[in-house]
C-alpha cells in the first residue's frame, strides 16, 4: 500500500514535468510564430468571432506542427496534466482503500474530461 508521502511526491513530479513540458511547447510555438510573422502588423482581434471547436479538431490542429499547433499542444498538455494528477489520486486512494476519496477524485476527473470534450 502506498504511503501518503509517496502519493504527494508522485503528484508533485507529474505537475513539474507537465508544466515544464507545456512551457517548452508554448515557447517553441511562440518562437516559430515570431520568427515567421514577427514583422507583420498586429491586428487586435476586436470582434468576438466565435468559433466552436471540438476536441478532435483541437487535437488535429495541435499535431499540425505549425506555430499555433505547438502553442495549442502546450495548452492541452497543461490541461491534461491536471486530468492526470486527479486521475492518479483515484488510483492512489483505491490502493489505500480510501473509497470515499477515490470516489471524490473520480467525480472531479469526470468533470474535467467532460469540460474538455463537451459541445454546446
Amino acid at each position: 500500500m502506498p504511503s501518503a508521502q509517496t502519493m504527494q511526491e508522485t503528484i508533485s513530479l507529474i505537475l513539474l514535468i507537465g508544466t515544464l513540458l507545456s512551457l517548452l511547447l508554448v515557447l517553441t510555438g511562440g518562437g516559430i510564430y515570431l520568427y515567421e510573422y514577427g514583422g507583420s502588423p498586429f491586428m487586435v482581434p476586436l470582434q468576438d468571432n466565435f468559433h466552436s471547436m471540438n476536441f478532435l479538431g483541437i487535437l488535429k490542429s495541435a499535431f499540425s506542427f505549425t506555430a499555433f499547433g505547438f502553442i495549442q499542444l502546450g495548452v492541452l498538455t497543461l490541461i491534461l496534466t491536471q486530468v492526470l494528477r486527479v486521475g492518479l489520486l483515484v488510483w492512489f486512494y483505491m490502493r489505500m482503500q480510501d473509497y470515499y476519496f477515490a470516489l471524490i477524485s473520480l467525480l472531479i476527473t469526470v468533470v474535467l474530461i467532460i469540460s474538455l470534450i463537451w459541445q454546446r
Binding site: 502519493m7 503528484i11 508554448v26 510564430y33 515570431l34 514577427g38
Partner: protein, 278 residues
Amino acid sequence: MTILSFSIVLMIFSFLAGLLGALTGLGGGVIVIPVLVLLFKINIHYAMGASLISVIATSSGTSAAYLREGYTNLRIGMFLEIAAVLGAFLGASLISYVSQSFLSILFSFVLFISAYLTMNRHEETDSYQTSHPWALVLQLNSQYPSKGKLIDYNVQNVPLAFFIMSIAGGLSGLLGIGSGALKVLAMDQALRLPYKVATTTSNFMIGITAAVSAGIYLNQGYILPAIAFPVMIGVTFGSFFGAKILTRIHNRALRLIFSIAICFVGFEMLYKALTGGL
C-alpha cells in the same frame, strides 16, 4: 505595431502581473485581464482565456514545490474541489451568454473584494481543540511542519467552506481567474486552517478549477494562441521570480499600494463598462 513588438510588450506586462500576483498572493489573473482589456483593447473573452492558461501553469509549478514541503492538505483540497469544479463548469458554460459589460462590472467588484481581502488578512494561527463533525468523518484534520516539528490542527466549518468554494469556482469560470483570494478566505476564515496550509492548499486547487474552465474556453475558441503565449510565458516566469524574492521584501507596504492600485483599475473597468467604452 508589429506582432513582435506587441508580443514583447505583452510579455513584459504579463511578467510584471505575475510578479505582483506572487508577491501579494493574488495570482496573475486579476492583474493581467485589466492590462489586456484596458491597455491593449483586447476582447475580455480572449483576455480571460489567456489568463486561465497562465493561472494553471503558475498553480501547477508552485504546487509541485509546496507538495514536497508537506503543508498542502490534499484531502481538504479534493473534498472542496467538488464544489469548485461544479461551479467552474457552470460559470464557464455561461460566458458566451452574458455580455462583455456584465463581465467587466462583475470583474471590477471582484477586484474591490480582492483589495479588501488583501488588506484584511490575519496570519496568526488560532488553535482549536474541537473540529466540525464533517471534518472527523472525512478525516480532514492533519498536521503541518513548523520550526522543525509537526503541529496538529483541527478543521472548523466545512459546509460554509464548501459553499464559498462553489462561488469561487463559478467566478473562476465566468471571469477566467484562479479565485485564489476567495479560496484562501474559505480555508482561512471558515475552516480556520493555519495560513500556510490555507494558501498552499488553495494553490493546489486553483490549477484543477482553472483546467475545467479552460477546457470549456478552448472548445468555444476563446483561447487564442497569439495572445495566450506571451501571457502564459510572462506570467509564469513573473510568478516564479516573485516567489523567489518573496521573503526579502516588506509585504505589508506592498499590499497597501497594490490594493489601492487594483481599486483604481476596478473603477476604470467599471467606468468603461458603464459608459459603453468596452
